[in-house]
Symmetry: D2
Subunit: 182 residues, 4 copies
């Protein structure tokens, strides 16, 4: 599959991280496949379907270099879904992958959610080794399709350009040419 | 079934009600069958299994005089499961029956939860027309058994004593004799 | 509930019985609640949903006087669903209640199926203690509703007429005339 | 993954085919990925779990060159699971992929089942483009794992040897020798 025309995944804007010793950037993960899932702790579909599927992804692809990242994209009931409640939620639901709190904006929709154009929660994005968006989903998709899609992404070779691109500072959905103004 | 030896259901101690214009007491419901379910909004089993079952109970027995009551019995992560978060939770999960916040105590376990001896969440209690505890469960039970048990409780005749008992002030799990100090 | 105007359940016409030492008649079961379920061994909905529900009914109401009866009502692929195949099916699916082969007719629809007016399989009929049809369903209904309905039927008193029948020696699938040797 | 040491999938021995205009051989499918699933029509696990999963595989990979093949491996109740009953079963369960009746042997276990060493039904084998066995399963495996495994097999390049075989006219279940009339 040619990924020449696939858009680059925008960088994450996260105000607080859980389950990781250090902040994570997509730029730093270039060369790996990333499964980014967006949720809200009071979103019924996230809790009933999406998060159990994420746990299954973690188990099944645990021996690969897939990186799973959760993003708490609160766009309603902000006062009810604070980081304090999120921390307890992560504990109760035994979530083990890194989870970031999407950075608040002036409006209801947080920064990363707006960058990706998520229509709501749960949403998910599969990011290829070259940083491009391979798949973008709103709602929960069938396990078999998710498994096949991740496996196909993992089967793609690590692009030689990945390291170089990272050096040149691919961020915010675009890669600057060497010497160009990023 | 003789209910002579069944214990009376202790009265509720609730600090805040949702989904009801006025506070509710079990004493005031004497003569009706009551399905009391205890939950925490960050309890995975409650959210995944118990609350969907409660909604099914509401639908199936909607035309009977069954009274469904929820009790938010927070015994951990108190700072994460405040009434503010509960209110948004009730909205997102479309819960329509009255829900009370179990009154905080000096310890972790709230007052009503201690009175009933709940071992955790989800718990449920089926209360007969005479105010006695017909069934007490920790964890979610099979739909068919729950349906059968509620139907059997509804099939019991309204006890003549119900009104009288209420007059005499049955509360806190005991009924005072006429003239006695309640 | 008044059952005065409920239709009487038509008698069964069965050419071969499994899981019972002697033929069964509804007349002989008067006084008991009967759950009659109709199926075909090649009917996907029967196998996937109805028969597991029947096994659940058997377990839940095992200590009551509910009588579960299966009826193999073949109305298509007659050559593919013979008693030989049914016998192996009963063994593989661990069905333990009595199962009768609905008597073949001149047409495709067997005799009992026609008497009850079943529209297809799976169908089920709940028969009250007085022999009346309390509920008639085509397709699988929700576990909770099924449990509630059977419990309500069991809560009905044994009609006086049933006792008389019993006095006359209705047992083991046959009824003795008054004065006859049971 | 090196497939050098993976065993070659033994050829099928089939006495009767359904859902295909001509007999099928694995040799004729060399170059394609093959999902071979073994079942019995009276096997509860096959009907409840395996066959629905097969239908999902057919839908999800419908646009790829995956070949799904069913094998009716009767090793018990032979008189109950005849081709006549299988034909009606295939119709009722809307199975659309080619299904072969495993050739009867002198014993209970049919020929292909013995060749593959299936321990029972349902069993499945994933065969790579080079004809090697990539995965062998007894029982139903998780959808996500199945999807990932098939996708990984499809991502493998078509081996050069397969092309040659195709050049020599492997089609419709037979391979012509060079120079022979295909």
């Amino acid at each position: 599959m040619s990924t020449l025309h696939l858009p680059l995944a925008p960088e994450l804007a996260v105000s607080e991280w859980f389950n990781t010793p250090a902040p994570i950037t997509l730029e730093g993960l270039r060369g790996k496949v990333v499964y980014l899932h967006s949720f809200q702790l009071l979103c019924p579909g996230c809790v009933a379907e999406s998060l159990p599927q994420v746990r299954k992804i973690e188990r099944l692809f645990g021996s690969t270099d897939l990186q799973v990242i959760g993003l708490h994209t609160v766009f309603e009931h902000h006062e009810a879904m604070t980081p304090v409640t999120l921390k307890a939620f992560i504990h109760e639901y035994r979530l083990t992958s890194p989870i970031g709190v999407d950075q608040a904006s002036d409006g209801d929709v947080p920064v990363t959610m707006a960058r990706y154009g998520f229509r709501g929660t749960p949403s998910s994005v599969l990011i290829g080794r070259d940083g491009s968006i391979l798949h973008h989903a709103f709602g929960v998709e069938d396990d078999m399709a998710v498994g096949a899609r991740i496996a196909m992404a993992l089967a793609q070779p690590v692009p030689a350009a990945a390291g170089e691109a990272a050096d040149r500072g691919c961020a915010d959905g675009r890669c600057a040419l060497p010497g160009a103004d990023a």
